[in-house]
């Protein structure tokens, strides 16, 4: 029983904060339906012209495709890497693995600009040897994003694997399962849902990444955030409002999906 009640002041503050956070979102949605050629509130002239423009523009579609390729690949890589990492840490579980976990978290405390600069030098150097992997290339961006989002994946997977009862590993070994069988038949099935939520998290992080992307791409690989950024700089086109609306919908969908998965798992209690 919780004996603390939420007072009216706290409720009011929460509402104001929420309103403050939501207002830009609420504004951008009607703006995307304006009939005019510049950013403005629609005054009876609702129209879908900016959405049509969006889907007819090869630049916008191209950037969406680029972002999708980058985000899906980076999220896949990050999920696989972090899963493999936490499984190894789980089996070993000693002094060294604790250091390794700390090492993995390092990118989190480095300021993004520093990461961006380092990755800029790295990709340009790689370009000398293999241009298709380095600066302003899809694989380059994918690798850079993977690097940035792996720590988040590791955190998510560490939480998940710490919930696995260690005794089931002993039980599996006692029942004749080797390392691979234990991993495939016991560990991974218990991590399946967490791998999915890790993937979704990593996807969102890569999908909206801009800081590092600005440093390591120029004109070959234009991701969606980058396209929005340049769209805003050159001319303020309501297409930006349209794409923002679509992004809000996509992000909300992914978040709800993640919550639904977690809720479903909470329902399946462990013995």
């Amino acid at each position: 029983m919780n004996i603390y009640r939420v007072g009216w002041l706290a409720k009011l503050l929460a509402l104001i904060t929420m309103g403050f956070l939501m207002l830009p979102l609420a504004a951008v949605i009607p703006v995307s339906f304006t009939g005019k050629r510049y950013l403005s509130m629609p005054e009876g002239d609702w129209s879908l012209r900016h959405y049509i423009a969006l889907f007819n523009s090869s630049e916008w579609i191209g950037s969406i495709m680029n972002s999708a390729i980058v985000a899906i690949s980076a999220a896949l890589l990050a999920t696989l890497l972090s899963t493999a990492f936490v499984i190894a840490v789980w089996y070993r579980n000693n002094q060294w693995t604790r250091w390794l976990i700390g090492l993995c978290m390092l990118p989190l405390i480095v300021p993004p600009v520093v990461s961006a600069m380092v990755l800029y030098f790295m990709t340009t150097n790689v370009s000398h040897i293999a241009p298709s992997l380095g600066y302003d290339s899809l694989p380059g961006v994918i690798l850079a994003h993977t690097l940035l989002i792996v720590p988040f994946g590791v955190i998510n997977m560490l939480v998940a694997i710490s919930r696995v009862d260690r005794r089931i590993e002993l039980a599996a070994r006692n029942l004749g399962a080797g390392l691979w069988q234990t991993t495939w038949m016991v560990l991974l099935p218990n991590l399946r849902l967490s791998m999915l939520t890790t993937f979704l998290l990593c996807f969102i992080l890569s999908w909206e990444e801009i800081a590092v992307t600005l440093f390591i791409t120029s004109w070959e690989v234009i991701t969606l955030p980058r396209q929005i950024w340049s769209g805003l700089r050159d001319n303020v086109d309501p297409v930006v409002a349209a794409i923002s609306t679509l992004l809000i919908i996509l992000t909300l969908t992914l978040l709800f999906l993640r919550m639904a998965i977690q809720g479903w798992r909470a329902g399946q209690q462990h013995p």
Partner: protein, 375 residues
Amino acid sequence: MSQSRIRLERVTKRWDATTAVDGISFDVTPGQFVILLGPSGCGKSTTLRMIAGLEEASDGQIHIGERDVTRLPPGDRGLSMVFQSYALFPHLSVADNIVFGLRSRKVPKDEQRQRLAKVAGLVDLTDYLHRKPAQLSGGQRQRVALARSIISEHPICLMDEPLSNLDARLRSDMRREIKALQSRLNMTVIYVTHDQVEAMSMGDRVILMQHGKIVQDGTPDELYNRPASAFAASFIGSPAMNLLPLEAGKEGAVIVGEPHTPVAPLEAVGGQLGIRPEDIALSTTSTTGVPAMVVSDEYLGADTIAHVTVGNHNVRVRMSGKHALAGQPCRLYWARENAHLFAADGLRRDDLTPTPLPRSPHSIPRPPVVGSFQH
């Protein structure tokens, strides 16, 4: 059947600073039901895990049957194990949990089905095969854990406190079931518990451990009637055996604070006298025996535990039926064969016999020697 013999030779387990198991040796003959008993942290689970191969021995040898299995992986040792709090696979159905070992050993599907049907019948789980562990009661999960280990048809089964998560009634049912299963399948069982009731009622043989060492290895009878040390004496039996320090008196060793009644020869001075609460007769009318004072009594239904002071010491006395004696002076009496002497280092002294107490004609007949245990 000789492949189910288990032999430990000076087996030791060390972790950096701690020695969890310290050079223990024992030899389990096929078909025996052996209990590893001891207080928390004494190394029972570690011993069991070393036998199972889930923990590597730092020293010593483990033989199963004719083979030295000390360095063999767990799957090759020909034994199964039931874990404390079951360790079922949460993502698998009851059926898949039970056949897990057969699947990992690549037993043909047909045979898996046959053996599953047989074992599920044996432990009464046939109606639950499609459920997940989360949808079972504690007792049913326990059965799944049992089924998962006996389906392997290994002649040896190791059990680590398999009943500790169940309530008292279910525990006593499962105790009988496990015993029945063991004799029916003719398994060799090593069973870890810290519950002395389980140990005494289930074991053919009890190995009592303390600080990683074996204190006593014998039948439940021997542990109860001839405890090898003061620790063994106080660990077995409920309430625990009374242990009274002895000092020198005029005619022999006396209980500290009660200088008038010699209870043992002088050589016993410095050690302890042990008497079980159920072996003491208490009389408020008798004029002989050790003088004492009843402080309080605890009524337990079938019997009453009287807390009395003798000299400077508290002594528990078990009496059958209901008694309200608090505040009354009384006399205590025990038969010489029920008194145990322990040396200063705690070890049993068989070289001395306790002094017989003068028998009063009025004393209450002492309750029957309790060989059975009430929880």
